[in-house]
């Protein structure tokens, strides 16, 4: 970033940099939780936390990409409910299970592409487009499920959500794979890198021969895909499809992205940081549960912790910006 700029050497440079301080805070919080809360560092508990985080982290991949383009995806809860509902209804109708799963994921992708079309071609604001499509998904879920929860998955399927291999739950492995795929796409591929330009500098994209509209539609399609995967995973964990099962995850997803440093103003954020944000939220909830605190107090503390972390992030960002401006002014003087 600042490699080619000649500047006065600040001896505290490394120690006051944003990534270092963030790591410091995370380590401090983890040590504190480990000391104050019995059983927190127990392996099975950590695996549980990751399992609970997976449902937040996987849709967060798509939401991160949407937020980078100054958009947002509020249809995650709808797809998390609708995709598995399609699967189980089709399965009860006698269709082979593998095909049902394929169709379920396809519905998620189609829902996402619909979002993308509304936003890119028709020009509807992402907030409205995704909120409405999410509501429609929820309605469809109620309709095809007769308003209730539906159960009856094949035995092997529920093992995916609840079982483990070598002590590591399958859910965690799936989360790892999804996050890795998302991170590689966003960070290393040509299309992924251009996503950061969307909403800021579209001409750059056009100059390279890509279409910003197609890219935007693809982003929401990817979001739909990951939401569907999360929905199928959640239903596997619960061994049932409950129409409102996705509701709480929607806001947690967005909170995870913001916690991970994705800005709602667009242009920044990474998949890995959002996944860490998701793990952070799941870990905080887990810590509060283990402490046996009264549930009313838990929400209070959770909100306070999230605000503190976000505030620290924002303040550090501002400091960095001021430092950068300071260097630029000095450069202009010489």
């Amino acid at each position: 970033m600042q490699k080619n700029v000649t500047r006065r050497k600040n001896p505290f440079r490394k120690v006051s940099g944003r990534p270092f301080v963030r790591t410091l805070v995370i380590i401090a919080v983890i040590l504190m939780m480990a000391a104050l809360i019995p059983n927190f560092l127990k392996f099975s508990n950590l695996m549980n936390v990751l399992r609970q985080a997976s449902i937040i982290a996987i849709p967060a991949i798509g939401v991160t990409m949407a937020m980078i383009t100054k958009g947002i995806d509020l249809s995650t809860s709808g797809v998390i409910a609708f995709a598995p509902m399609c699967v189980i209804v089709m399965y009860h109708a006698g269709i082979p299970f593998a095909l049902c799963v394929l169709c379920g994921i396809l519905t998620g992708v189609l829902a996402g592409l619909l979002n993308g079309l509304l936003i890119a071609r028709v020009g509807v604001l992402p907030f409205i487009a995704t909120y409405v499509s999410g509501t429609i998904m929820l309605g469809l879920t109620m309709v095809i499920g007769n308003g209730g929860s539906v159960t009856g998955f094949p035995k092997g399927y529920t093992q995916i959500g609840n079982g483990s291999v070598l002590g590591i739950p399958w859910s965690n492995i799936i989360m790892l794979l999804c996050v890795a795929a998302g991170a590689l796409f966003l960070g290393k591929t040509k299309y992924g890198n251009r996503i950061y330009a969307l909403g800021n500098n579209e001409s750059v994209i056009r100059m390279e021969g890509l279409s910003p509209e197609k890219l935007l539609i693809a982003i929401y399609g990817i979001g739909g895909f990951f939401s569907a995967v999360a929905g199928l995973l959640l239903s596997s964990q619960l061994s049932t499809v409950h129409p409102t099962q996705g509701n709480s995850y929607q806001l947690d997803c967005i909170a995870a992205c913001i916690l991970g440093g994705t800005s709602m103003l667009g242009g920044s954020g990474t998949v890995i940081n959002s996944a860490l944000g998701a793990i952070g939220i799941a870990a905080m909830r887990n810590a509060l549960n283990l402490l046996g605190l009264h549930p009313y107090v838990q929400n209070l503390l959770l909100g306070t912790l999230i605000i503190l972390i976000v505030a620290v992030n924002v303040l550090l960002k501002q400091r960095e910006k001021r430092q950068q401006e300071g260097f630029n002014i000095r450069r202009a003087d010489t």
Partner: protein, 350 residues
Amino acid sequence: MKKVIAMLLSLVMVLGMAACGGTNTQEESQTTAEDTAEEETEETEPAESEAEAETETGSYKIGFSVKTLTNEPFQAFIADMIQTKVEEAGCEFVLATTDSAEDVAQQVSQIEDMLVSGIDALIVNPLDSNAIIPALERCKEENVPVIMVDSGPAEGTDESLYVTYIGTDNYAGSVTAGEKMAEELGGEGKVVIVRGVSGNTAGEARANGFKAGLEGTNVEVVAEQPGNWSNDDALQAMENMLIANPDIDGVYSCSDVMLDGILEAIDSAGADDILIYSFDGLTNGCQLVLDGRVQATMQQYPSVMGELAVEYLLQILNGEKTADDFEKFVDSGVAYVTQENAEEALQNAP
């Protein structure tokens, strides 16, 4: 840099307050925290050593997992009774409530976390009887006996997953309500039902029971919509049903908690002469029956549920009885409350 340090310190403060300010028996949780913190590094099973230490003193940790207690006097009644009985026996009580009546996944993760924190027994009122099964399986793995209260297991649930289900026979109670309403309507008329949250076994049983009670008469159910156990949703549901069916003769509310919303809808529509029957027998329900605004409510005995659940679990934990000694369903009883006995019912109402 100063600002960062200030933030860090406040973070430490907040978490420190949280850890030391828990509402449960503080001394016990602090000593167990110290014990298990030392044992963690040896990688022994902390839950087992905790359990060993506790069987010597005869003090257990019993958890209760339920939906949100906000605006839920019925659930709060059960929770209070459980807490009283657990603490009377010298044990530790842990409460877990979800953010809303629809957060099925949160209930499962809360139970998982309670297992990690080392509970010895669990009482649960499941939000969704199907979704709770994985949590029950985990409890079985950890040898933690489970008793279900108020909402029962889904059909086909493995019986080894729970000791017993203590609850009101929602179906039978609602059949009585249906029969009584049909009687009062002279065997003819149109009624609507305001249901609970879709998928909740108690709610489904009440709606189905009411319909069964109407069988054989000319009373017809012209509409039914979910009120989701909330006044806001019940208000909307009732309004919609009144618009679609302006001349109904009666309404059955699957719970007293939705009565305020239903009455508001009826009042603003200017409809009168509608018989209102309800279920639960809460303070507000009994008062409304006393005032004549509601014709009847079926009163449950939530305190009995809580009391019996704790009693049975303690018997199992103390080794006096095993899970097989209990029937799979224990009926906690229901009473038909009308204006005549509403005064008395009010005394016992949650």
